[in-house]
């Protein structure tokens, strides 16, 4: 692979949007649009003839590498198994339960100031919290606590390892000039 082809390939690889020829031109500081176009054509041909895992497509006025559609079933499985992020609401709820357990739903809602039924359900489904029992109050409300899965998620041996606010305070302020 010649050098220009390899550089353009690396740009296409690293870019999260389609790259126009003008954009490539400005990055490489070259005036030679033709050479760029030729490189793109030869890359596209090579991906096609070698039947690589990805191909080059011209889209929205630019060029982009994409995984070959034949492999969509595998890619889909990859993406499905990808970790998702906890929502802000879930994080808050989980934090309250972690630090205040055993705790009632009404306490969680008092602290968050909003209805938290949905978030609690999600956390229960993900087995990050559990029902530890019911309080002897009208309606017998449930008492929540965290689970083993919670400890695993945060890589904690036990709840004793949860950082306290004091720990945080002791560390002080974030060092201001990380990138000097």
């Amino acid at each position: 692979m010649n050098n220009l082809n390899a550089i353009i390939e690396s740009l296409l690889f690293a870019s999260d949007t389609a790259l126009t020829i003008d954009k490539i031109k400005s990055i490489l500081e070259t005036a030679d649009r033709k050479a760029i176009r030729e490189a793109l054509t030869s890359l596209a041909k090579e991906y096609e003839s070698a039947k690589r895992g990805f191909f080059l497509t011209e889209v929205a006025g630019g060029f982009q590498l994409r995984t070959r559609p034949e492999y969509r079933q595998w890619i889909r499985r990859l993406k499905e198994s990808r970790p998702t992020r906890l929502s802000r609401a879930a994080m808050e709820t989980l934090a309250i339960i972690a630090y205040k357990q055993p705790v009632l739903r009404s306490d969680v809602e008092y602290l968050r100031g909003v209805d938290s039924g949905g978030t609690l359900r999600t956390l229960l489904e993900r087995r990050l919290i559990r029902v530890m029992g019911r309080k002897d109050l009208p309606g017998r409300p449930m008492i929540y606590g965290t689970t083993k899965q919670f400890l695993e998620l945060f890589d904690l041996k036990d709840l004793n390892e949860l950082p306290t606010l004091k720990d945080l305070k002791d560390l002080g302020e974030t060092w201001p000039n990380v990138s000097r």
Binding site: M91, P102, L111, G133, D155
Partner: protein, 243 residues
């Protein structure tokens, strides 16, 4: 010293120039091109102190750690000047006090430099990031579908505390967390089997502190009616049941 030539009108901290007294010491040893295993302690001490004086004259705050090091150096210097008491000659070189930490510090400093020379992600090498804009967090644990850091958890908690009225009490000490932790463990046991004897809960606990924590956990659980505590009439064995 070039970087502080223009005498800035604002105050700066010495730590912004040297990351600590060790760093300054390394600088002086390097500048004088001396063997760290045979540091001319008088010379280095003198230069170290001169440096601090000079910093002060430039309106640079000298943190306490730098003064502690100055005192240590001066102390070593004075010990070097004393005649050795014993004739055996096996008395340790007073400079060892500073050499050991200095050598270790230097070693790690080199290691930090070696690390910096690696092909660093997002600087020397790049990966494809996600298209749908969600940030990429690597798997912490295979099969674990959620990813958050402990810090995000504390952050979330901190924000809640800020929001809620200050009179709400947050008695979060390592001690209260210990009780919570024990409650969680007992709940684990009761999830596996429906009951456990009082005795069993204490057996594994060695220290006095642990016993108290376990006891407080049981009391708290009983108060919350998470458990029932029963005693067998004849044997006297106390059992804890899942409520």
């Amino acid at each position: 010293m070039e970087q502080i030539q223009d005498q800035a009108p604002y105050r700066v901290n010495l730590e912004e120039i040297f990351d600590g007294p060790m760093d300054l010491l390394v600088h002086l040893v390097k500048k004088n091109e001396v063997d760290i295993y045979d540091i001319p302690i008088a010379l280095i001490t003198q230069q170290y102190i001169e440096y601090l004086e000079w910093m002060k004259s430039l309106n640079i705050d000298v943190a306490g750690e730098f003064l502690v090091m100055a005192a240590t150096l001066a102390h070593i210097k004075s010990r070097m000047m004393l005649p050795t008491r014993g004739e055996e000659g096996d008395e340790e070189d007073p400079r060892m006090e500073i050499l050991r930490p200095l050598a270790e510090y230097l070693q790690l400093k080199y290691a930090a430099e070696d690390l910096m020379e690696k092909d660093r992600l997002d600087w020397d090498v790049f990966v494809r990031r996600d298209f749908d804009g969600t940030e990429a967090w690597p798997d912490e644990e295979p099969g674990n579908l959620i990813q958050v850091s402990l810090f995000e958890l504390i952050d979330a908690f901190q924000e809640i505390i800020k929001r809620v009225s200050p009179e709400y009490s947050w008695d979060l000490t390592p001690d209260t967390i210990s009780v919570k932790s024990r409650i969680s463990q007992i709940a684990d046991i009761l999830e596996q089997r429906s009951s456990v004897t009082f005795q069993e809960l204490f057996e594994a606990q060695a220290t006095r502190g642990d016993i108290i924590v376990t006891f407080l956990a049981i009391l708290e659980m009983a108060k919350l009616q998470l458990i029932r505590i029963m005693q067998h009439l004849e044997s006297g064995i106390i059992r804890i049941f899942n409520e």
